[in-house]
Symmetry: C2
Subunit: 348 residues, 2 copies
DNA sequence: GTTAGCACTCTAGCGCGTCGACTGCTAATA
DNA sequence: TATTAGCAGTCGACGCGCTAGAGTGCTAAC
């Protein structure tokens, strides 16, 4: 029996405390646990157990003569071992299916935005969606287009269906046929590479003495990293600031949340976790960022071809983990299905 | 003398009240106005004047025996007639210049994001940036690219330097030379039109009996409105949620701000005002949206070719209008310069 | 027209006592 | 030995009254 293992009774009481606290947002007393019904114990016994849970850091007491509230460790124990399989209610499931089903054929940005919105509505939490990072996407086609006045358009299409484009200056001397030939060459070089690999390869080619179309490719490569810069590469969508601001735990200092909401990069950073197929829950202090105490994340991932995107919710540690994990998981799965379906493939 | 005209003395006192209140965030007493120094009056006289200002709805009293706070009308009078020309301090001006100068050659999305960030930092307010609406942009070039498996890429370059692209399905029967010919045709048709006009024209052409490449153009046109849908058409960037959440006036119900922060469309809607060359100030209830009481906007515009984008700040009505109008104006002008400069034109 | 003076009003803050919720301990109990 | 009833003790929430102080509105004098 590991040090942190709890007896059945302790587990039951911890569950009761957490579930009651999530509902009420107020410290849970021994009496309240008894009134939960599932245990046939007196409040005195429950108190003894609570004291032991407190000694182990699973719950804490705001002050003497108050009830207990779950500590981050307590939530962690609950999520890992007590809450049981994340079950999605029929109503939730139906809503998710219906919402996803109307998105067939839309582009990724729209899908991610809409899914964030739905996730936020359904969970009543701040929801975040990350498009798949373009950097890791695999190139399907690159095209240069010759314009007037020595300018050129570069367009990159990825297997995921995402496309990016930008203008660059190539000098008056470049002819239309040069551009066409360079396009052919680039496609030979870059097909099947990721954006990052492509950039590396271009750099190498440019160093070679006999690099063909050096000036043209040089100019284009100068744009490359900017086109695929994070800002445009891994777009962040979020919805539902109103929900997180509504929580009583943030009533005092909403400025903390300001920091979270503020920067798309910070948000992306939070949600971009070491990849895992499963939904990942991060509770309070487990976020190493400062000032993220009191905030939990539930993050899932979805695949689009070779690339991975993420969706998740952000809320107070006092959140309905079981339901949220279920909903996020369901969304992730359906997005996976959507992006691998023939409907999506063909609709593009 | 118009009904709402004030005497010099009344104006001085109104100014003193507003400026003191903006600094202190607390009701301003008659004594505080006297202590401001610029008037040689007793507090009793000031009290008489304040009562008359209150009768006209320019200031209000939270409760008897409290000082006065400016009403929306008072701010309006101040902004229109009292605060004087918006003057930008040398330090602000230098920072703005420096910030803008490093943006030469970047793409519009990056520029707008960075400017929002700078504006937010400088003003310590929530800042919003809108890219120019792509819809009203003028087409410079449209290009179709033939891909494998009956798919096609459409790329549109605008005179503003913005580009958009998307994949669509065109059917296996379309040949590479068809695509090239169709590209030429499209450029003939669409050159110099706005995106909106182009969509109309394509619709007309498709109705004609002898429309060439009907299937191809039909498929492409099916994508058209989605590519240029608001979501991608008039991107919104914002920065500085932390600042607006920090204001004491929103300490209680931040959920109101949640509604503002929440939806990019709502933000865009706020900032997208009837066009004007000048910086536009919108105070509290002048926003017709409900629940926008207590919130003011300072919005400027900048041109990129034929299209117009906007930048602005959003904060409590208790804001430093003079300085903010100056800073927003300065940014607008420098953006205008940036986008019309040969440096920008050529750098693209 | 302006001001000094004064009575009045209202808030913020403090101290106090009470109530009620909850705990921790102890001794009785099954 | 595990559980429980009972009880004393602790602490926050609430309401009350009081006071200090800030600020007003009015009036009479200048």
């Amino acid at each position: 029996m590991r040090r942190e293992d709890l007896t059945i009774r302790e587990e039951r009481i911890l569950s009761a405390i957490i579930e009651t606290y999530v509902r009420s947002a107020r410290p849970v007393s021994s009496g309240a646990v008894v009134r939960c019904g599932s245990l046939k114990l007196s409040s005195a016994t429950v108190r003894n157990v609570m004291r032991s849970l407190e000694d182990r850091g699973l719950i804490e007491q705001p002050h003497t003569s108050a009830g207990r509230i779950p500590a981050d460790h307590g939530y962690r124990y609950y999520v890992d071992r007590l809450m049981g399989p994340a079950i999605v209610s029929n109503s939730d499931r139906a809503q998710i299916r219906a919402g996803i089903s109307v998105l067939g054929g839309r582009d990724i940005a729209t899908i991610v935005t809409e899914v964030s919105r739905m996730l936020s509505e359904l969970c009543k939490q701040l929801a975040v969606g990350l498009e798949p990072a373009v950097e890791s996407g695999v190139m399907e086609r690159v095209e240069l287009v010759h314009l007037e006045e020595g300018r050129c358009l570069v367009v990159v299409g990825l297997r995921s269906g995402q496309t990016r484009s930008a203008l660059f200056k190539c000098g008056e001397s470049v002819s239309e046929s040069d551009v066409a030939a360079a396009t052919g060459l680039l496609n030979d070089w870059l097909d099947g590479l990721s954006i990052g690999e492509a950039s590396q390869l271009l750099k190498r080619k440019l160093k070679e003495k006999d690099c063909p179309f050096r000036d043209l490719i040089w100019s284009m490569h100068g744009r490359w990293d900017r086109i695929f810069h994070l800002h445009d590469s891994e777009r962040v969508h979020y919805e539902g600031a109103r929900y997180i601001l509504r929580n009583p735990e943030f009533a005092g200092d909403a400025s903390l949340l300001g920091e979270i909401l503020d920067s798309e990069e910070a948000l992306a950073d939070l949600v971009r976790k070491p990849g895992s197929r499963e939904v990942v829950v991060t509770i309070g202090h487990e976020n190493h960022r400062r000032k993220m105490a009191g905030v939990s994340l539930v993050v899932g991932s979805y695949r689009v071809g070779e690339t991975v995107g993420r969706i998740g919710v952000i809320g107070p540690t006092r959140m309905q983990y079981r339901r949220l994990v279920g909903v996020v998981d369901q969304f992730s799965r359906l997005l996976d299905d959507l992006f691998s379906s023939s409907h999506w493939q063909e609709g593009r």
